[in-house]
Amino acid sequence: MKHLVRALGGAAFLSVAVSGAASLMAACPAFAETTLTIATVNNGDMIRMQGLTSDFTAKNPDIAVKWVTLEENVLRQRVTTDIATKGGQFDVLTIGTYEVPIWAKQNWLIPLDNLGANYDVSDLLPKIRDAVSVGGKLYAAPFYGESSMMMYRTDLFQKAGLTMPERPTWDFVIDAAKKLTDKSAEVYGICLRGKAGWGENMAFLTAMANSFGARWFDEKWQPQFNSPEWKKTLTTYVDLMKEAGPPGASSNGFNENLALFNAGKCAMWIDATVAASFVTNPRDSRVADKVGFALAPNTGLGKNANWLWAWNLAIPSGSKKVEAAEKFIAWATGKDYTALVAAREGWANVPPGTRTSLYQNPDYLKAAPFAKLTLASIDSADPNHPTVKPVPYVGVQYAAIPEFQGLGTTVGQDFSAALSGAMTVDAALAAAQSSTEREMKRAGYPK
């Protein structure tokens, strides 16, 4: 037994010693002067960038790169904790257009003034550039941008004698969805997000509400869920999904709908433009050669039901390696990176939605048949004027205020409940109005 106790003690001591030594070694990398820690999300474009890091380190032998890849929501929580406490764990962050204006105003981000002479800032798509700038200064560099659009099955449309207009109205979409639904064959007219969350169903429903003339808040920050526009939005959505949507739609997010569409079970799907490359990839999709694209629907009020989003690279103010971080960002979001991806992985794999020059490149336009509609969708979304009526906030499918994540998720749960039938549309809107009013009052917004 004496041996057992000694062994336990020894092993514990050894474990602490080994981990301490490892931490010390980590603090002093031997091969490069500067080691950048980069936090990023797990998606195809980001993973491709990780694979091409050797190009950056070959050009900058004094800089080493360490990647921290996390799921979007985990990453958001992780980097928010670090940046709010100035933990200094990351040198480059991947953040969305929602965070950029909020964090820039908190002085949590360093303005990107030194991206080099070759970094053509004026080539960035104006809408995306606006979304990552505050007071005319760029606080993050867009890595890839996206909007949302209509994806539809050309074969099913042809069979039903329907033609999808380039700018469909909601009336056309509703009518087509009903005609294309064949529940006995498990083919549903339309697949839309239903899973609760500010970045899930509320991204879609807020954009849809914009097209119906609704808004989250009036100019005095009063919640507007009691407006007739919101009632029409939610009623249309719930009725359409009940009649022409897949079963269990209240659990469906991007991935679930992608799987349904790829399996040939959705005649129409309105979602992120990034999905276009997935549904047309024959490796993943059974309907790859039968997909058409159109703009997100409208009601003739001047706003389409599409959003605007970009994943961007930014430098937290806690970083002590700003110069190296700027070099990395200039490499990853510059024109040369686009050329590098095209040369190694083909034009179809180039990160989309950030630069004007990409949409003037004939090679890219040939490789990505959805490119023009992606650009048209991005151009038609205006984060500074997202709604028909004026609003005090910036953001198309969100309001760029810190409270929105919580509010969006709470309202998303109410609307998901309306879709599943657990609540009526009126009850869901009343609950959304009441909870949003309470939270906004608590946060001191209404004037």
Binding site: M1, K2, L4, V5, L8, G9, A11, A12, S15, V16, V18, S19, G20, A22, S23, A26, T37, A39, V41, N42, N43, G44, I47, Q50, G51, K66, W67, V68, L70, E71, E72, N73, V74, Q77, R78, T81, A84, T85, K86, G87, G88, Q89, F90, G199, E200, G253, F254, N255, L258, A259, N262, A263, A272, V274, A275, F278, R283, D284, S285, R286
Partner: protein, 276 residues
């Protein structure tokens, strides 16, 4: 005299046990099967059970993208270190509470347990700031410390429960023979409680191995264990189930092997004192 079970009853019980066992094991089996599917097959409905195109490309992708060995070593060091230190602290603590209780022992035990009722996110920011100031972020020492402290109440409680089963008279006899407290602890109590100590040790190791909140929040790359490795394969945009399943299979493999070899000790420990 024990009642003899009829063959039909034995058969029914055996089948029921196998069904329950299979149901419990099914999620793990499904994860392993999914790891050998393509992303499209992993998402397809109705799902295919065995008749699909078997592929190891997910394992190749995971190996190519992440340093599995680095994360696995971190998991072993962090789970092993925190478990061993917790045991060294908890054995004397549980002894004193079981055999030399004070009027406040019960309150202390309940207070210790109450710390587990607080959601960890409630203390995330203070701990993050302390770790930042002491340079413990993304360090194995930091993770060993936080997991050790986090699991200590459960370890003390489990050991306390096992120790309570041991008759005081035996320890008193040792004392009569002149044993000091240290000798009593090492030569009398610990050997008698080996099954309990072993199962506590194993359960604590599994808890530390699976712990995701602190390991995700306090590590970035250098000290990141397998929980961080798994988290990097989830995505809200894109098909990832097959790759995530491959990463998860790799992550649970060491603990599954450990559990397999130590199952006898584990069961003995968990049923220790159950039948008197």
């Amino acid at each position: 005299m024990a009642r003899q079970a009829s063959p039909a009853r034995v058969l029914t019980t055996t089948i029921a046990a196998w069904v329950v066992g299979f149901l419990i094991f099914f999620p793990i089996l499904w994860m392993v099967l999914t790891s050998f599917k393509t992303e499209l097959e992993a998402f397809s409905t109705p799902p295919s059970f065995l008749f699909f195109h078997w592929t190891t490309e997910n394992y190749a992708t995971v190996q190519g993208r992440s340093d599995y060995v680095h994360h696995a070593i971190n998991s072993i060091v962090i789970a092993g270190g925190s478990t061993l230190i917790a045991m060294l602290i908890a054995i004397p603590a549980a002894w004193s509470m079981a055999f030399a209780p004070s009027p406040r022992t019960r309150d202390i035990l309940l207070w210790m347990l109450s710390t587990k009722m607080m959601p960890p996110v409630g203390v995330l920011v203070p701990i993050y700031l302390i770790y930042r100031n002491f340079g413990l972020l993304d360090s194995r020492v930091g993770l060993v410390a936080v997991l050790c402290l986090g699991n200590l109440p459960i370890v003390v409680w489990m050991l306390f429960t096992y120790f309570k089963e041991i008759p005081k008279d035996i320890l008193e006899a040792a004392r009569m023979d002149g044993a000091t407290i240290g000798k009593e602890l090492v030569y009398v109590l610990t050997p008698m409680a080996v099954p309990g100590i072993a199962s506590t040790l194993l359960l604590n190791f599994i808890l530390a191995w699976n712990e995701a909140f602190w390991t995700l929040n306090l590590s970035t790359s250098q000290a990141a264990p397998l929980t961080v490795f798994i988290a990097s394969y989830s995505s809200p945009e894109g098909l990832f189930w097959a790759k995530l399943s491959a990463a998860s299979t790799l992550a649970i493999a060491p603990i599954l092997v450990l559990g397999w070899f130590s199952q006898r000790q584990l069961v003995r420990g968990l049923t220790f004192g159950a039948v008197k």
